[in-house]
Amino acid sequence: MSKENVLRVSDITMQFGGVVAVNDLSLEVNKGEIIGLIGPNGAGKTTAFNVITGVYAPTNGRVELHGETIAENHPHGKMKAMYKGQNDGKYTDVKVLTPDKITKKGIARTFQNIRLFKGMTVLENVLVAMHMNMKAGVFGAALRFNAAEEAKMREEAMELLRMFNLEENKDDLATSLPYGKQRHLEIARALATKPQLLLLDEPAAGMNPQESDELMRMVGKIRDDFNLSILMIEHHMQVIMGICERIYVLDYGALIAEGTPEEIQNNPRVIEAYLGVDD
């Protein structure tokens, strides 16, 4: 049985001036998979997420979601002379969707440095993520003609909060939550956009082993309950190894290995580049 492809990243290079943050990266995520993206600090993992979600237009390469191009670019102007990647001339289209359009198409993400809406409550944070699917116009919403729709949104948001044990904090300011709960809220908020692909950027950062164990179980449950695919960056090796079907390893922006957790653990290049310097 061939797997249904969800995300296909082809030959992505992301260059900031002279810095090549991501260098010819290609990866794939299929339906229902949990895929890991690892690498030492500064390897370009977050930058790869930023390209996939439209924060940055790639210097070269293509990103597809369900076979539809959401970002494609090739070096222009000054970058043409500076460009350090390969695949010159392979990509000719220029199409870069904005992050909100990409989110609407079904990719949601969390942030490594938590980016909750700090002036808003926990519930409001989740509700914002549902705004894009709202049917009411600005007058309808302001004059409360959409009361039923709003009530339904709130009910769905509460359900998500309940799943993450946040229902008691619903009226607290998001930033007043303890660190671990903020990370949970970030995931709840991302899920509220009803994604088909969830990108998690170090969801277990700053958590103790017990908390990250719990998170690992949570990630599996999310995949099953919401019927989605997950691509996650993580430094906690036991989390990554325990849960991911396949792992991609980045070093200095370039892909150095790809495979099952066992293959990655035994790959000499990975050991040299990554596990060897792990703390």
Binding site: V55, P99, F111, G119, M120, V128, V138, A141, L143, A190
Partner: protein
């Protein structure tokens, strides 16, 4: 369940408060307006109300959407002119547009036209027609302002915050010169004053109009769109990642804010009974910005309180300081200009004790109000200690903070 009961109680309280307030204004209007001794009260009430509306509309942009825009005076100017130009009775045009042939280019007034159509000046229907004309024209003024804001927003809202401030400030200055341009004289009366246009009689009118406008803004802020605005204010990158279309929502907030600035400008024109582009300088924008900051960026209640405080201070309470007599004290140093010195000190004090504005980001609630009065004596008693803590050394400050935490 208790939630719902207290909610009902709050709504009842609010309705009673609104009715009492309107009745009070109606009575004051009849009793005070003809007498001269307390006319300041009505002036401040009307002007404060208009400034409250304009400040709230600015807060929608600056406090709730995080867009630092300084075009408010420009938008008010557009609204004021859009209203005044179409509200001067045809027979008065020759005197108003005295420097232009044939009383200018436009020869009709919507309020006067509707008044005539519905029975004339002496009939009840005529009065209704007159006010209907005023209201329709105010909506027109708001819409014109909104359309211009929409067009300006297309290039300007893509700029980052400091540049946005500069661009909107520049735009407001251009608008001011544009309206004073002699070439447009037959329509705008050039740099001359527009006057003799239709206006309201009762102070209830601006209060009602501003009240409805502010109510709409509050409802908007508490809707899903308001949440989207706030998400942009808090974190643009995260907002966009959650599917909020940044440009669309910034444009929406900008256009709505400008609509109400335009309506506010029309009200201001009516309040003053004459209008001229000259005073709509960046100074006026700064006054409104001051109101927003003093009241609390991100608090509607704060903007309203700030507006009345500002207007009362500058038009009434502190006037004596310029005239040489204040609270019964007479002194030589109280000469014109001294009021501004005292006013600056008052503002510094407010900023010192309420660093995030009087209301911070809090809003009015009945329970909050009751609590305010309940704890008032206690807090007044604590003021000397607070002042001491403010001015004493860091070590002491830390100590009091620790004590506070321990409690």
């Amino acid at each position: 369940m208790t939630d719902r009961i207290s909610n009902k109680k709050n709504i009842t309280l609010s309705i009673i408060a609104i009715i009492v307030m309107l009745a009070a204004i109606y009575v004051l209007d009849i009793v005070i307006k003809p007498t001269s001794s307390w006319s300041n009260l009505m002036t401040c009430l009307e002007k404060g109300t208009i400034y409250a509306l304009v400040a709230v509309s600015m807060n929608l942009l600056n406090g709730f959407t995080g867009l630092f825009s300084l075009g408010q005076a420009g938008f008010m100017l557009i609204g004021a002119y859009a209203y005044a130009i179409f509200a001067i009775a045809p027979e008065d045009r020759a005197t108003v547009y005295q420097y232009y042939e044939g009383g200018g280019l436009i020869h009709f007034s919507l309020p006067h036209m509707l008044q005539d159509m519905m029975g004339g000046a002496d009939a009840f229907g005529g009065t209704i027609g007159y006010y209907l004309g005023i209201i329709l024209l105010m909506i027109f003024a708001g819409l014109i302002t909104a359309v211009i804001a929409f067009l300006i927003g297309i290039p300007v809202l893509r700029l980052k915050s400091d540049y946005l401030a500069i661009a909107t400030l520049g735009f407001a200055e251009i608008i001011r010169s544009f309206f004073q341009w002699e070439g447009l004289g037959p329509v705008t009366n050039g740099s001359n004053v527009l006057r003799k246009f239709a206006s309201y009689d009762s102070s209830i009118f601006p209060v009602l109009v501003a009240g409805i406008c502010v109510a709409f803004i509050v409802l908007l802020i508490n809707s899903s769109y308001g949440r989207a605005f706030k998400s942009i204010r808090d974190d643009e990158i995260a907002a966009e990642a959650m599917g909020v279309n940044l440009f669309k929502h910034k444009e929406l907030s900008f256009v709505i804010s400008s609509f109400f600035a335009g309506v506010g400008g029309a009200l201001l024109a009516m309040f003053q009974n004459n209008i001229n582009a000259a005073p709509f300088t960046s100074n006026m924008t700064y006054e409104i910005l001051l109101i927003v900051v003093i009241g609390g960026i991100g608090s509607i209640t704060g903007s309203i309180i700030g507006a009345y405080l500002f207007v009362c201070c500058s038009e009434w309470w502190l006037r004596g300081l310029d005239a040489g007599e204040f609270l019964g004290i007479e002194a030589d140093f109280m000469s014109p200009g001294f009021r501004k010195v005292v006013f600056a000190v008052v503002i510094m004090c407010i900023v010192l004790f309420y660093s995030r504005g009087i209301m911070g980001t809090n809003e009015f609630s009945w329970s909050g109000l009751f609590n305010f009065f309940k704890t008032l004596p206690k807090r007044i008693a604590a003021v000397p200690g607070k002042i001491k803590a403010k001015f004493s050394n860091k070590k002491h400050k830390k100590h009091t903070e620790n004590v506070k935490e321990a409690q």
